[in-house]
Symmetry: C2
Subunit: 377 residues, 2 copies
């Protein structure tokens, strides 16, 4: 087995739990957030900085690396860890999400998906076999079955057919996987916003005995309450002793909600994307450092944060960097936001361990959303 997972502590009042995940590239505790390194780099940061802020596992995108530089190039470099000089754990997605969101002129068939590359318009074909072959070449510690994430507006008939095909693709992904002893292949639960489809899909996937399970197709524009309800319906059908990964979620409120529904792993471009746009995550909520009010603010981004950025630079200087379009601005905010989110995960783990998860959650969220009563993101 490529990974081992163990639940260490269970919260008595919710589904929250602390787990330990052992991978070929390090052991860490869950719940854990995975910074996104789409193109084999967590944008603007070095691996040394990722270690410094407590990242243990990063996500890289199969679709992007397949198209550029090519999985053969990465394999020749010695695999993705060597290529990007990151000795922690890596998870690669299947490419399915990008094929269905980024690529142009798609044609979905049972065999796989024909589409045009977003880079050069050339015709490409992605299937479970192609996805797994690429992920085998990249060599991440956790790899994902090839799936379809149906669009928000898909009707029941579409979602049902899509989930059935994703299930067949999951079986083909399992069969195609060449290195189960060093790469853990996770299945992805789909089924849209139909609880019965979700439950049926989860049960069928569990019968295939994957070493871990993701919940996909959420956080695509639906109201958060809908996502929480789907998690409540789905997670109880996933094995207690295996890791559960909610794809694409990185806002504090949704992380708390998912943790208390039994989720162990998260990824999202949210902290890194808003950082590049000049928005910091702080203990008092989002701070748009570009704003005029920070021109003469000589405070750190977050008085409660002890990251290197908050110990060194002021809001006024960071605002200047963004207005002057200096790369150091996005870099420093990316560092801070990931530190913030990884510290939040650490706080969550400690609170579960110490039996005060609900209290921690309420204190954190009431400060975070103090100025945003509707919890806008």
């Amino acid at each position: 087995m490529a990974i081992r997972f163990e639940v260490l502590v269970r919260d008595r009042r919710s589904g929250a739990r602390v787990g330990r995940l052992v991978t070929p590239h390090g052991t860490f505790e869950t719940p854990m957030f995975m910074p996104v390194g789409t193109q084999a780099t967590v944008k603007t940061l070095t691996p040394e900085e990722l270690r410094e802020i407590g990242a243990k596992i990063v996500l890289a995108n199969t679709y992007h690396l397949w198209l550029r530089p090519g999985e053969d190039v990465v394999a020749e470099a010695g695999g993705l860890h060597r290529f990007m000089a990151w000795d922690g754990a890596i998870l690669t997605d299947s490419g399915g999400f990008q094929v269905f969101s980024l690529a142009e002129r798609r044609r979905v068939e049972e065999e796989g998906v024909y589409f045009r590359s977003h880079l050069d318009g050339s015709v490409k074909f992605m299937s479970p076999e192609v996805s797994i072959a690429v992920q085998n070449a990249l060599g991440a510690d956790i790899i994902m079955a090839f799936d379809e994430c149906p669009p928000l507006e898909a009707d029941r008939a579409y979602v049902e057919a899509s989930a059935a095909r994703t299930l067949r693709w999951a079986e083909r992904s399992l069969r195609a996987h060449r290195y189960p002893e060093r790469q853990a292949l996770f299945g992805i639960v789909q089924g849209g916003f139909y609880p019965d489809l979700r439950v049926a899909h989860a049960r069928a996937l569990v019968a295939l005995d994957f070493p871990g399970y993701a919940v996909g197709g959420l956080s695509i524009g639906e109201p958060k309450e809908v996502m929480y309800r789907i998690l409540e319906e789905t997670v109880p059908h996933l094995p207690e002793g295996k890791p559960r990964y909610l794809m694409g979620v990185g806002s504090p409120d949704a992380i708390f909600a998912a943790v208390e529904r039994g989720i162990d792993l998260f990824d999202s471009v949210l902290p890194t994307r808003i950082a590049r746009n000049g928005t910091a995550m702080t203990s008092r909520g989002r701070l748009v450092v570009r704003n005029a009010e920070y021109r003469r603010s000589w405070e750190p981004l977050d008085a409660n944060c002890d990251c290197k950025v908050c110990r060194t630079f002021t809001r006024g200087y960071l605002r200047h960097l963004f207005h002057a379009e200096e790369m150091l601005g996005p870099r420093l905010l990316t560092y801070h936001n990931l530190y913030f989110l990884l510290s939040l995960m650490e706080g969550i783990r400690a609170s579960i361990r110490e039996g005060r998860f609900q209290e921690f959650k309420e204190a954190f969220l009431s400060a975070y959303y103090a100025d945003q009563p509707h919890r806008g993101f």
Copy 2:
């Protein structure tokens, strides 16, 4: 006096020398290269990294900081050192070069220069008094007199009149300077490519007794031999016991040539600008890491370099970062190029101290330009 300078070792076969410059923000030995931090940031790098690669003094641009964020904002932050969180030494230029190269619709008068801001087109006025007031507010350790850098194509009459005006501006800069005890004001020798004008200008400036002197108006497109000849004519007229700064020079061949003609300080955007464009400076010359030949090159940029980038990343990965337009690429090459140039300066100082400057120069340049017999940059 804001600074103290002492010549520690003189090369017996050339004008090269090792000096010690004591500033309010640290002491360092010369010859030294100053990384350029135009907008109060050496592009992509943190002050911590600048310290790590051995930078002791950085240059910031008065013109840019005056327009954005405004010298009043920087002063309110506690000055430029506090604003950018750099506790090493800082030199600010006078803004003259930018007024004459960057600004639009200039009108030069005896009093100063009227021009339009390159940011918003608004009418601005820069004079010796304005420049020094801005530099006093920024608070750098070394500040520069306001001068005109005549264009390459200027005729003798223009250069002569310009140099005379620059001399009057130098006197006004001295008179306007409010903090000579904490900021050392350097004069700038102009005079174009006319040795007699250079000599006269140098002598007149020296009579004003500045604590240091720059040679300006060079490296603006003239053949390097012309620049070297001007240095040979000019430097002997500058005081032996004061620092000499050649503005805008950062290529290894020109640095060696200027060091052996008695120059102590350098600045240039070359290493940082070519880094952002994907070009590394290595012991074997320039390496354009974007090139196809490095797609599958798993060597460091420079096998002879022990910087963090060369110890960690391969050419193939760096090439990928540039092709994928990832900010980490410019960041890593900037780090490497400045490390390379600061190490070169360290090598130059050691070779002068050990009486082997000529040998060091010949060995370095023959490797650096091995593949570029015409020493193209």
